[in-house]
Each structure stands twice: as C-alpha cells, then as structure tokens.
Amino acid sequence: MQIAIFGAFEAGVIYAIMALGVYLSFRILDFPDLTVDGSFVTGAAVAAILIVEGVNPILATLAALLAGFIAGCLTGLLHTKGKINPLLSGILMMIALYSINLRIMGKSNVPLLQEETLMTSISNGWKSLGLDESIQAILATIGLSSFIPKTWAIAIIMSVLVLLLKLALDWFLKTEIGLSIRATGDNETMIRSFAANTDSLKIIGLGMSNALVACSGALIAQYNGFSDVGMGIGMIVIGLASVIIGEAVFGAKTIVRATLAVIGGAILYRIIVTLALRVDFLETGDMKMITAFIVICALVIPKMWGQFKEKRSKKKRLLASQQKKTSIKDRGETLA
C-alpha cells in the first residue's frame, strides 16, 4: 500500500510537468488545447528513439522539449493564421501527431529497459552517494522503518526539477512577455490596444505549453521504460483533472499559488487513481472512466457545495430577519 502510494507520488511529480503545460494553455491562454494527447507521445518518442540511438538522455529530453514546442507552435499557427477554431486546431494537430509519432518511432512501441536513461543514471548516481541509507535512518528514528522504497532518488530529484520549472514559469509569467500572454487570455481587445501581437503571443504560449507536455512525456517514457504510441490517449483530461483538482483543493488566487496547486493536483490525481484501482471490482482498463469520474466530481462538487452554503446562509438570514420583525411586533403589542 505505502509502496503503491509512493509510486503514485513519483509518477504524479513527473505528470505535474504536463499539468503545468495544460495550465498554461487552458487557464492562462484560455485555449483548450487538445494537442497535448499527441505532443506528450511526441516527447516520449523523440527521447526514446534518441536514447536507443545512444544520445545522452539529458540531450534526448531537451530534444523532446523542442519537438513539443514546435508541435504547439503549429497548433498556434493553425488557430491564428488559419483562423481555425481552437478546439479543432488542437484536434487536427493531435491526429497528425499520431502518424508523426509512429514515423519517429518506426514502430508502435520502443522499449528502453536495457538503455541508460535519465532515471537509471539518477538512481545509480544517487546510490553512489549513499543517501538512501541516511534517509532510512532518519525515518527509522521517527518510527517509519517499515516503509522502504527501492530508491528515494527519483522522487526527490524529480520534485526538485518540477519545483524549478514551476519557479521558472512563475518568473516568466511576470516578465513583460509573460504579462502580455496572460492578458491575451484575459482580454484580447485590451492587449491589442497596447501594441501586442496577440497572434505571436498565442503561438509562443502554446509552444511553451506543449514543450512542458513533451518534456513530461519524455520523462515518463524513461520512468516506465518504454515509449508507446497510445500512451497519450486521454492525456488532456488527466491534465485538466490535475488543474481542476489542484485549484479546488489548494486554491488559485495568485500565479505562484496556482502553479503549486497544479503540481499538487497532479500528485493527488495519481494517488486517487491508485487508491481507486485497489478497489476489487475495478480493473486497469477502467482507468479512463475513473479519470472522467474524478474530473466530474472536481467540477461539480465545489459548485454544489457553494450553492448549498449560499442557500443555508440565505435561510439563516431570512430566519433572522423574520425573528426581528416578530420581536418588533411583539414589542409594539406590549406597548399598546
């Protein structure tokens, strides 16, 4: 059980990078970008093929990031220059990427189990430092000795990476270009009247969003030990789930808080799914249904809760005012 949740945390942290990308397109640019389903695999495919070819895993991951950026820019071009509806441009790009991903990989599945990947080098490097033992010792002193994961390396290094990306994104969204991108999603008329080219801002924003998604895909491929052409199916929904859960649980008042919430949402989502899959009659194939259910809950419950609270407070106020009236009346009668 603990091991399963730990695994969910590890995966969640890596998927959080994808969720940050979805946050950028979906919330900041207000652009429901379905390219994600394709660009996630593009990242995985590019990284996998380069690693198999013997390229350094870090370079391979960076190449994946670039590939995602290009894919996102193309979606942006379809929308801004081709004047195609946002949803449709994303769908078109996603479907085209499916074939492109097959072309990149040459087959539908590229295994990486025998290869030196970012994950194996992190684990090995970590082992030589001997940090796992010291963490274990610390845990033992606080009475958690029963829980021994294979390595802490991936959870810790990936958490650091995600937090660095979060900080970079926070900073970027406060630069002049970042502010303009936020304003583009907010009020296009306004930002155009302040001499900003909304077309290029959208293209850059979508490029960055899909670069993050592809980076996440590349890391997931190395984490799971394979790249598969079908691994991106439903990815946008998972991203949305992370964003929506995160915002509902952790709040989204400021950018700094919202990006943190998205990361938390991605981890929480993985944990919920892991727990759900432990229920006896649910199978692995039910995962997409569980995802849909989680998103529906995250969308509906906060709204219903808000309505319920409003109704309750209204009732209270009504009651209070009625009591006041009757008490005044009573007083009036006694005076008479």
């Binding site: 406060k174 009020n187 001499a195 900003a196």
Partner: protein
C-alpha cells in the same frame, strides 16, 4: 498629427444591406487638438475611430499619424502611436491581472517587450505617482486584481493606461456612456485634466452634446458618413445644445433622431 485623406468605407458591398459608412471623409488635426465628435447612430463615428485604430482598413484613402502613413498597418503596430479608451469599462483592462501588472502592460506599449520583469521597484513608484493623480486611492491597491474594481475605477485606470505613455493620438469612444452620471462626470473631468496636462491630441466620440461642447477645442458633427458641421475654437465657445440641434435641422432638414436629444 493626424491626417485623414478621402477616407471611404463600405460595409456589405454588393448586397441589399450595402451601407456607405464613411464617404470621402477628410480630417486634419494639429498637435494638441482635442476634437469632439457627435452624430446620430450610424453616422460613422465608431467606424472612424476603428479605422484610425486599425480595427478596420479603409477601402480608399489614407490614415496618417505623426507623419507616418499607417493606412495598411496592423492594429498592434499602430497602437504604439495610438492610445484608446473603450465605451465598455471592462474592455480596457485585464481583470485577472493586478493594477500594477495592467499598468506594466500599458507601460510596454511604446517599446518591444522582452524577458525583463514587468513590475519593478522603480516602475512601482512611477505607477504610484501616476495613480495618485486619479485621486481614487488606487495607489494603495497596486496588487489588487482589476476585476475587483468598480466600473468607474476601471475606466479611470483605462484612461490613465491609455495616456501615461503619451500617445500621438488618443481615441476616446464614448468612454463615459456606460457609467452612472457622477462617475461619468469624474471621468470627464479626468479626461480634461490629463489631455491638457500632457498636451495630447485627442479625438472623442460622444452622445452627450453638452459634453461635446464643454470639452476640447474643436467640435465635429457627423451624419451618414460625412462631416456636416464643424466648429472651431471661437465658434465653439458660445455654442449651445439648441444651436447644435438647429444647425443639424438646417443642414439635413430633419430632426436628429438620437438619445442625445434628451441629454
């Protein structure tokens, strides 16, 4: 500062609904001119502003701002020279960004935006100083989201954002029409102050004839895509709403069908 030569624009050309929005219109404004435009609905006032702003491109004619021919320039390119305040108080600001972030965006109007931080300490004190001039206590709410402000406050902020980088032309599109009377008065006063202090060249569309007479140094009356009456500084001084209406009747031989009559 602004020169419009023979501007001609038709909508729905070749259909039943064909409408000549602007009919070979000429207008020339000097540095520091503040022109108010009145006219009934459909006279072409908004079309005129949209043509200057670049939202529309004229079928014929030239738009020249600060000696640059901008007839074909895209909207975002020419907005380096042009400041705009819209009728809708929501249109001129980004609601989920804070006051200082909105001001930072406006500050970036005149130059190419880069990867430097939008809100810096130095700019903050500059923004504060500018906000103080509005006297709405906004200088103490720099990090409040603009969506939380009232319509009047947002419009005042829009006005400041459009003007503090001193555009070559300021376009005001009925920017007080959507506000309640006291707020409208405040924005009108601010407009007057800001335009005078910075010696801006401004073009204001309004439905309120009294406002058109009170503000600015020139007044233009438009009808059916043409300028039918123009008052210069001297003529404008003694002008009354009744006179304007009479003028319109004499020229067009009809009454002005407009909510402005009530104003």
């Amino acid at each position: 500062m602004l020169k419009l030569n023979q501007i001609y624009k038709v909508f729905n050309e070749g259909t039943m609904d064909e409408k000549i929005a602007l009919n070979h219109l000429n207008l020339s404004m000097n540095q520091g001119d503040f022109v108010t435009i009145i006219g009934s609905n459909g006279a072409g006032k908004s079309t005129l502003l949209n043509l200057i702003a670049g939202k529309l491109i004229p079928d014929l004619g030239e738009v020249i701002v600060a000696d640059k021919n901008l007839t074909q320039a895209s909207e975002h390119k020419r907005s380096r020279l042009i400041g705009r305040v819209f009728q809708d108080p929501m249109a001129g600001t980004a609601p989920t960004l804070t006051i200082e972030e909105n001001l930072a965006i406006a500050y970036g109007r005149t130059h190419r935006r880069g990867f430097s931080l939008g809100v810096t300490k130095k700019r903050k004190s500059f923004f504060k100083e500018k906000l103080e001039s509005l006297q709405l206590n906004l200088e103490n709410r720099l990090s409040a989201k603009v969506g939380l402000l009232s319509g009047g406050e947002r419009q005042a902020l829009s006005l400041l954002m459009a003007t503090f980088t001193e555009p070559s032309i300021l376009l005001l599109d009925e920017h007080t029409a959507a506000l309640d009377p006291s707020r409208a008065e405040l924005i009108t006063a601010l407009t007057k102050k800001i335009v005078e202090e910075n010696n801006l060249t401004a073009l204001m569309v309004t439905h309120n004839m009294q406002q058109a007479i009170d503000l600015g140094n020139r007044l233009i009356m438009m009808d059916r895509g043409e300028i039918i009456f123009e008052a210069d500084q001297d003529r404008k001084k003694g002008l009354t709403v009744e006179e304007l209406l009479k003028e319109f009747q004499q020229i067009r031989g009809g009454t002005m069908t407009d909510r402005a009559v009530l104003a």
